[in-house]
Symmetry: C2
Subunit: 343 residues, 2 copies
DNA sequence: AATAAATGATTTATCGTTTGACGGTGGGCA
DNA sequence: TGCCCACCGTCAAACGATAAATCATTTATT
């Protein structure tokens, strides 16, 4: 059915090996011959069989995407996938995924299968949760080119620059004249801060850096727990913050759900946003229901995806090159939840 | 490095072909011999090279996942991925994805590449938006086993049973004594209903079916437009519904964002949920900020994934078997937004 | 003019596996 | 005793490509 190099060879009267060289642009075939080969290839609708190619050359032109997730409610950002997909396609790489921890067996099996059965060229690791020691050892032992996504660590990794984002969010409010700016995070308890994702710490750290630079003091409110369970408690906490007599004029929210709590409680308390209170958040602009379009720092998912594949491709080509961690800057989306300070 | 069947052959003193037969359980080798082969295979840490296998047998044991999305804000449910992943792994199938419409080139290229370069065995198509005619023709022409996900159509497909879900949501409220039950959808305008995703029509249809069966009349409120732009308008609409003098006692919301609008406006209007108003929604229980845990009909993403892979595997084995569309029932999650009718 | 180097293509070998044709061995049956 | 057949394997080719070695021409060097 599908045309192979042998079909091309017959059609142009060459050996199939010569066709192979020609198609790959080897200097061993004459330019004129190459032209003929390309023409015939196009004519016959030839497409190289990557599978056959892989068996001999050892390069499969495919990379694995090792998935993982903390919670059942978690989503895989389509923008991240989009970035991965676009860059992979541009480089002729196929993206094979698996390894979700739903099933122990699946999880254990994916990486070995990918490498020895599939002879994949490299691995993208998308772990929000803690990285299993076993996995790290496996990577080292097999010397598989790999890049971690959305994780800050010593090895090759690509992540969003949370510190910078926290700083920029604060700076944005400072430039509008705000002096009392608070950082609010209902997604993590203060006492569990060390064990959770670095974004919880880094966004705050960036915020604090900007405040210190401006010679102002930081105010941090933390609370809540697992997402759904303590929703009432969070609502109360949000209320106590916004309806306090000397509340801040600006609030930086760690997450969209934190922001929604703040917005709703402000509305309930009759506090006008952005006139009486400026709110800036992270992630997504849509906040499902308040009617207020948030000003947010946007996780550069797409860019992270593109960068990750690019870096992995580099590591595959040059396994000995040392690849440094890459921090991708956040995007900024102006909404209607921020204003110059009133008084 | 990695052991091949030849290594096994040497170790047990057989031809490599015999080993091949033994490993695949062919009746051509004696049971005792097979045992020896398996032992040696385990000893040497043998893993079949799928790539080499594919080139000869034509079966790659891999399936493609063709992605697509309407909006930039869309997510790929991790539960769906989980279902696909688990079932694929159980069947020894690898899952290769691509084809997002970010880039025309990528999109056009993915399917042909997957099939002719990759020799993938089948295709899962995850299209929420309209299905390109070109794609359908391609599938037909190439006779690729394929299954559509989350799409209702004549060919093999797996989708959530929206009609049933709408019916069950209404029935749930009816059983609690509600008579005035409304269906609210802020995600679609009434005039665009025909052109949008069937879920918008089917959830309503199910609701209407249940109401008719109970001998009650349906009340449908639709409005809004693209998600972010008309948020204010929606908030107003929600307010007008819940603060109306003779409002319904129960509301079925098409989506979580619709539900959030309803909840917030109820809170602002001082209407107690669920005491004065019962709300039941779709999708996700978390509603980011109101503090109320919603009662919802949950899209069976995981089950859809499992079923889709299972069906595709069947179509790959038996290409001539006719596979009917499969409707997977929704899950139900009890929350705290529904109560027996007050008066 | 003889030799060396460059050029362009062919030959042969190989990757790891599957596949179909074929061949010894031994037992059952007439 | 002879014949057939089931059983258990081996052989050799094939899959679609790559890679190295080799060979036949030209073209350049002295």
């Amino acid at each position: 059915m599908a045309a192979t190099i042998k079909d091309i060879a017959i059609s142009v009267g060459l050996s199939h090996q010569a066709v192979s060289y020609a198609l790959r642009g080897s200097p061993k075939v004459a330019e004129a011959t190459r032209q003929r080969v390309f023409l015939a290839a196009k004519d016959l609708g030839y497409r190289p069989n990557t599978t056959a190619r892989a068996i001999r050359s050892g390069r499969h032109r495919s990379i694995g995407l090792l998935l993982s997730t903390v919670s059942k409610r978690s989503y895989l950002p389509i923008q991240l996938i989009g970035g991965l997909d676009t860059e992979a396609a541009a480089r002729g790489l196929m993206l094979t995924m698996g390894g979700l921890p739903d099933d122990k067996l699946t999880r254990e099996g994916f990486v070995p299968r990918l490498l020895s059965e599939w002879s994949a060229d490299g691995l993208l690791i998308n772990y929000q949760e803690g990285i299993p020691e076993r996995l790290i050892q496996l990577m080292r032992a097999e010397r598989v080119p790999s890049v971690w996504i959305n994780t800050k660590q010593e090895a090759a990794c690509v992540y969003a620059d949370e510190i910078d984002a926290g700083d920029r969010a604060a700076t944005h409010l400072l430039e509008l004249g705000h002096k009392r700016i608070a950082f609010v995070d209902f997604s993590h308890r203060a006492d569990e801060l060390q064990s959770v994702h670095y974004s919880a710490r880094d966004r705050q750290a960036g915020y604090e850096r900007a405040m210190t630079r401006a010679g102002l003091s930081a105010e941090v409110f933390r609370g809540g727990g697992p997402v759904v369970e303590d929703n009432h408690e969070r609502a109360r906490y949000a209320r106590s913050i916004v309806s306090s007599g000397d509340r801040p004029t600006g609030i930086i929210c760690y997450s969209i759900s934190t922001a929604t709590h703040v917005l709703i409680q402000s509305m309930l308390a009759g506090i006008s946003i952005p006139n009486e209170l400026s709110v800036i958040s992270f992630d997504d602009q849509s906040n499902g229901g308040t009617g207020i379009l948030l000003t947010t720092m946007i996780v550069p998912q797409r860019e992270i995806g593109v960068t990750a594949v690019r870096n992995l491709a580099m590591r595959i080509e040059e396994p000995n090159e040392v690849t440094a961690p890459v921090a991708v800057p956040f995007g900024f989306a102006a909404g209607e939840s921020v204003a110059t300070v009133s008084k």
